[in-house]
């Protein structure tokens, strides 16, 4: 199967070179997705498709452009690539645009990253998906408090992908993977017109790694019920614990500012700060592409460069940026990789409840809503929901509040990390406790 994709990628490169490109990188993908959605005891939607496409980056006389198409008819593809090469000649020359240095293609990991569950993918049937989606609803409804449920939306889906990547300066690779997904979204009745909702999901690269259906349904109901009676509390500075599954978004503003584009375009508050202490010494973060079964695992990156472990923060000190070949060249630095893989954290000794006990009084954040982060200045402001905690116990539910700060200051307030890295994401972050952050509410 992957041979066919690899062949297609070589074909596309051949067309580009014939049209006059000095170098080219082509990737070809094929995905298959199947999904069943269930709504209140009935089938709501089934979706199933196989999709294929080609992307190509062109390097023509120091000029650069990139293109993608789903129109793979041979004649259409031929004219698509040929015309794209012609158009590229009209752009300005840019000496920094090059394929990756072949030295970065060497010593690639050739083992099994555990991303592909062939038996799992082959064994799911349409009937299975319907049955599972229905069972998710049943488990949500039979959870404690289920009588308050207005509606349950659940889904069961799975997908497989294969990709091939070819660089005209001597690199080719293929990859394939599977993923399986369970989801339940529950809406419950509160006072007046309020209808709080909550969801839970489980996702696995292997079918066996999913949480049991009963757990997913029950947790969705529990999350929705936690929204009953939510209120903001008064604005102020509070201690807080951020639940592990929210870490990816919490970190987003920090990681966005590490991209080569942000650094080189002066739109990063982390520009010029390699070697500086940005966060608390408890904060160590490594980009590790070679974790077996990791959601972001890969043997090579988008440019085809061999994937390697990359320390990002060590005991709070910034060590590396995410630099692709282009922005590394513009900055006069060595490329690392242009994109994140798995994020691994140093973890602590206590679970979430333990962190709440050590905090005593403060806010537990269980949901983030809206908000944004300014990569240029590091200022962030984001909506939260969660619980007010006293004596380490949940006292009342909170919503309609914002948390605000500046990344250069806020991460220094990290005082404890949990032992509970989130398994269902490439960002395997633990729950984190901060001694003080600013919250606005009523």
């Amino acid at each position: 199967m992957s041979r066919e994709l690899l062949q297609k990628a070589h074909d596309v490169i051949r067309i580009a070179k014939r049209a006059g490109a000095l170098g080219a990188r082509a990737s070809v993908y094929r995905n298959r997705n199947s999904e069943v959605e269930w709504l209140d005891g009935r089938l709501d939607r089934i979706r199933q498709s196989t999709s294929m496409g080609v992307s190509i980056s062109l390097f023509v006389d120091e000029r650069y452009s990139a293109h993608s198409t789903s129109d793979l008819r041979p004649d259409a593809l031929e004219s698509f690539v040929t015309d794209a090469v012609g158009m590229t000649r009209l752009l300005a020359a840019d000496p920094h645009r090059k394929l990756a240095d072949p030295a970065y293609y060497a010593n690639r990991f050739e083992g099994d990253l555990g991303l592909y569950d062939a038996p799992g993918a082959a064994s799911v049937t349409g009937i299975d998906r319907r049955r599972t989606a229905g069972a998710l609803e049943d488990s949500a409804r039979s959870a404690p408090g289920g009588e308050k449920i207005i509606t349950v939306n659940s889904s069961c889906s799975d997908s497989t992908y294969e990709t091939a990547l070819v660089n005209s300066n001597g690199m080719e690779g293929t990859a394939r993977g599977t993923s399986f997904f369970l989801f339940a979204d529950v809406t419950v009745r509160d006072q007046g017109d309020r209808r709080p909702s909550g969801y839970w999901y489980s996702v696995g690269l292997h079918r066996d790694n999913l949480e049991p259906v009963e757990v997913v349904g029950r947790k969705a109901t529990q999350r929705a019920l936690e929204g009953i009676g939510e209120q903001p509390m008064e604005s102020g500075t509070y201690a807080c614990v951020i639940e592990n599954r929210l870490a990816r978004r919490t970190l987003g503003g920090l990681l966005g500012a590490l991209s080569g584009n942000a650094i080189q375009q002066e739109r990063s508050f982390l520009a010029g700060k390699i070697g500086d202490e940005i966060a608390s010494p408890l904060f160590s973060l490594t980009d590790d592409p070679l974790v077996v079964g990791g959601f972001g695992s890969r043997a090579y990156d988008n440019e085809g460069m061999t994937a390697r472990k990359l320390p990002i923060f060590e005991k709070g000190v910034l060590r590396n940026y995410y630099l692709d070949t282009y922005y590394a060249s513009k900055l006069g630095m060595k490329p690392t990789t242009g994109s994140q893989s798995n994020l691994l954290f140093t973890t602590g000794d206590e679970d979430l409840e333990g962190l709440l006990r050590s905090m005593g009084t403060g806010i537990l954040i269980t949901g983030l809503m809206g908000g944004n982060s300014n990569d240029t200045t590091g200022d962030f402001s984001v909506g939260i929901r969660g619980h007010w905690i006293e004596n380490g116990k949940r006292v009342r539910p909170l919503s309609e509040m914002n948390m605000a700060g500046n990344h250069l200051e806020s991460w220094k307030h990290l005082v404890e990390v949990g032992n509970d890295p989130w398994r269902y994401s490439a960002a395997r972050a633990p729950s984190m406790r901060f001694d003080e952050l600013t919250f606005s509410g009523a």
């Binding site: 698509f80 375009q265 300014n374």
Partner: protein, 518 residues
């Protein structure tokens, strides 16, 4: 703390109750392709039906595909064909040194059985591939055929975005001088700028819809987008501003007046940001500036009015039809027919002609936004709100251009009426929890209001409130309805569609401002 809210994975995991919007981003718009890569030339003059006939697909094929779709007892089948050609041409560090292009070609086949949907798509426009998609979609039903495809007849719809020059006929050479002009205008305006990056985007999408009731409709949807980011440095402080312009237009949209005006606006905003102070924290009155603040309507009001949320009982407005939900000055429209606006559509993605829907009339809730499924469910006429990101998705109820009509109050008096509060001017993104009604929108720039006067510049604060409460609290509505000159990209159900907004100056209470000055 996130920049990439639009990621499909996030939206999906965020659940049915969460709907997200971002002002258009480069990442959000699929990178486009070179104009000569367009589809085969039409064999005959005229409609888009002929355009797709160029791909070898005609009426007989549609008939056989829909018969296959209905072969297991579905009530209704439709086919959505699409051919999109997109380009982005970009400047960084003073050089136009990058271009991105994409071609998206394919067809989605949908079968309905009651409220349930079966859906599949293919990127291969062959009869065999379409039949196979139809067979997959047919599985939503499990019986014997009851409906038959009707004879197909083309329906003409009004064109709300006529253009003179299709994007397929515009080469990159015509885009270069526009980009150069924007760069010079921005740099000449503000000597403190250290970086200017510009992307000029264009898209031409042909769609053709055919359904088993015999309707065939076609549309050509152009889009012109300019994205300008300026970074300035002054006394060691770095500030940035990114703003777009977007409309369903051809290259004439990028007139000198318009692009120079935009360059000046962005360059001036960077300068203003140098004097910005931290936003206040806590609940206070907010005056929403005319224009971009329409994002408030989109989040607080528009999403909860999408009938799928109501059909499922998940919307906070599910039981409020015909009731008063705002003061008499508040009339809210969702409209497909505003000439050339980003959210306008001549026909929705189910074949319903573009129309104007009154959601709230003088404070009374009047209508939801319906797609075919929900209009059948509620037994009301469709509102033409069934939209999809592309042929890869089934349609769901979506907004188009959402705005509030002008009211009786002088905008200056609206500001003067506030003793201590904020004046909210530009926004980046927003989100809503449909059932709880909580919504957010992220303020990029505004002003403090002190004793009825605009004083210091503020920036970077998330605003959060409860939709129904905030809508109820709007008591002053200005005479100055302004349509936002860009618009946004709205994410829901894992799908992104272009939308527009508009708002007069209004005063709202009970909004919590997420600054740091508690």
């Amino acid at each position: 703390m996130m920049r990439s809210l639009g990621r499909r994975g996030f939206l999906k995991w965020a659940g049915a109750g969460a709907a997200v919007i971002t002002v258009p981003t480069i990442a959000g718009c699929r990178p486009g392709a070179f104009e000569l890569c367009a589809g085969p030339k039409s064999k005959a003059a005229g409609g888009i039906a002929h355009y797709f006939e160029g791909f070898g697909i005609g009426s007989q094929v549609f008939d056989r595909v829909m018969a296959k779709g209905l072969s297991r007892g579905g009530d209704f089948c439709d086919i959505y064909l699409q051919h999109s050609v997109n380009h982005w041409t970009g400047m960084e560090d003073g050089q136009i040194n990058r271009a991105y292009g994409s071609v998206d070609l394919g067809a989605g086949v949908r079968v309905l059985k009651g409220d349930a949907t079966g859906f599949a798509y293919t990127e291969e426009l062959t009869e065999q591939a379409l039949l196979s998609a139809a067979e997959t979609a047919a599985a939503v039903a499990d019986g014997t055929p009851t409906a038959r495809p009707q004879a197909i007849a083309a329906v003409k719809v009004k064109n709300y975005y006529p253009i003179r020059l299709p994007w397929a006929e515009v080469g990159v050479d015509r885009k270069l001088p526009i980009i150069e002009q924007i760069n010079s205008a921005a740099r000449n305006r503000n000597p403190n700028l250290v970086k200017v990056s510009i992307f000029l985007g264009d898209e031409g999408t042909h769609v053709l819809l055919v359904n088993s009731e015999g309707r065939m409709v076609e549309d050509y949807r152009p889009m012109a987008t300019l994205w300008l980011t300026c970074v300035g440095m002054k006394n060691g402080r770095v500030e940035t501003c990114s703003e777009s312009l977007s409309a369903r237009e051809d290259i004439h949209y990028f007139s000198t007046d318009r692009i120079v005006g935009h360059a000046h606006f962005v360059a001036d905003t960077v300068e203003e940001m140098f004097s910005a102070v931290e936003a206040p924290a806590g609940e206070m009155p907010v005056v929403l500036a005319a224009g971009t603040s329409g994002i408030l309507l989109h989040e607080a009001m528009g999403h909860p009015m999408e009938a799928d949320f109501n059909r499922k009982g998940t919307s906070i407005y599910a039981d409020r039809m015909g009731q008063r939900i705002a003061c008499e000055h508040v009339t809210i429209i969702d409209d497909a027919t505003n000439p050339h606006m980003r959210g306008s559509i001549n026909v929705d993605d189910e074949g319903e002609p573009g129309q104007r829907t009154v959601l709230v009339e003088n404070g009374i809730l009047r209508s939801y936004l319906h797609d075919r499924i929900s209009s059948k469910h509620y037994r009301v006429p469709p509102t033409g709100s069934g939209r999809r990101q592309s042929f890869r998705y089934p349609p769901v109820p979506r907004m188009r251009n959402t705005y509030m009509l002008a009211g009786p109050h002088d905008p200056a008096e609206v500001i003067a009426s506030v003793k201590k509060g904020i004046y909210a001017e530009t926004f980046a993104n927003g989100q809503v929890n449909i059932g709880a009604g909580d919504f957010t929108f992220y303020l990029q720039k505004g002003h403090l209001i002190e004793n009825g006067k605009l004083t210091r510049v503020i920036k970077d604060a998330n605003l959060i409130g409860n939709g129904p409460k905030v809508l109820e609290s709007i008591d002053l509505v200005g005479t100055d309805l302004t349509m936002f000159a860009s618009g946004g990209t709205c994410g829901k159900d894992g799908q992104r569609v272009p939308v527009g907004f508009g708002l007069p100056t209004v005063r709202a209470g009970e909004i919590s401002v997420g600054g740091r000055n508690a």
